[in-house]
Amino acid sequence: MSAHAQKEPGILKLTITMMLVTGIAGVILGIVAYFTVPIQIKNDKIHKQEILQKTLPEARQFIKLDIPVDPHAHGKPNPWFKGVDESGKLVGYVVQTDHRGYGGAVELTVGITNDMKIKGYEVLHHNETPGLGDQIKKENFKAQFVGKNSEQLVITKRGEPGKINAITGATITTRAVVGGIKASLEKLNQTLSTQ
């Protein structure tokens, strides 16, 4: 015990050791981040561009719309775009929205045609129940939205034709998708008519 107590390092040594350990670790990580973060940002941009292209395939170029978008759960608001083809003709809009689902915000990118009908959507991010809520990513669920306008977005649980069939066991998630798309459609419509 006494021999051990003799070797007990002072507070100064402890502090300096810890400072060295954390300091060196921090510097090395800083160097690593210097190389990886630009790659990450680049990949992220490519991925976002791919999603825009997927929701509005006819468009060759996406121009940011001057619409104030509510900042969402992840901090930065996702901008809205209008898509134009080679000749500069307007082919539609891409809006990004998030709506409260069962496990948090369901973030969507929605393609909209010139006459305010839904072209399709992609799920950017969600936290819904696997197997239930994540069926919003399935093609046969997505297909129900194509060609509908905001008034036609009505949820049914009895499989009525022309309406959106709620996913069994994931009504809240269905509502999040329908609600999010509906709200952004209406907002887009409103902003465009006032402009």
Binding site: E8, P9, K13, L14, T17, M18, V21, T22, A25, I28, L29, V32, A33, T36, V37, I39, Q40, N43, D44, H47, H125, T129, P130, G131, L132
Partner: protein, 224 residues
Amino acid sequence: MSDANSPEIKTLIFEGIFTKNPVFVLALSLCPAVAVTNTAITSLGMGVAVLYVITMSNVFTSLFRNYIPHKIRVPAYITFIAFNVTFVQLVMSAFLPRLYESLGVYLALVVVFAIILARSEVFASKNKVLPSFFDGIGMGTGFMLALLLIGVIREFIGYGTFFGMTIIPEQYFTPVLMVVLPPGGFIMIGLLIGLFNLIGDWRKSRRADDSTQQVCQIDQKEAA
């Protein structure tokens, strides 16, 4: 501090995968074992990340074991672990963004996985660099294989797929949804732990049988 006798590399790896398997035998880090194992690919991603972190943290701990004062060893080890986890996060977010997204917060939580700090404290702080490295490899591989096994089974029963490839077409298959939800994960892990124990018991009884047989033979000889 004196080093313990260096154990053999083969034993270290065997122990990590079988006799001291982090998930099935030590029952450590069960939270991620449930949370990220509903598909095979996320299980594998998490497993590889942990394999890397546990190995490198063991190496760092062992390298600096004689310079870190006893009093601050835990914060120092945690810093080593956090360093390696952040490194994995940075690399993964740059090159495997989809996997990084699906692992979510659990990748950052690798810092506090009991198994990693346990290996630093129990093994790497008392052993030389090379055995510590192989202890990390063994334990990490054991963890990875355990996660992968759980993930492959859950994905197959829950979605009918293997690494995202459809094995059973949807029209012939009703997915057992519960298996991909957390309760199903716990049940699956329970069953696998049971299976591991069964295998362990079987091996033990076989060894016991062998020795009783030998004893019998000796008895017979003596009787003769």
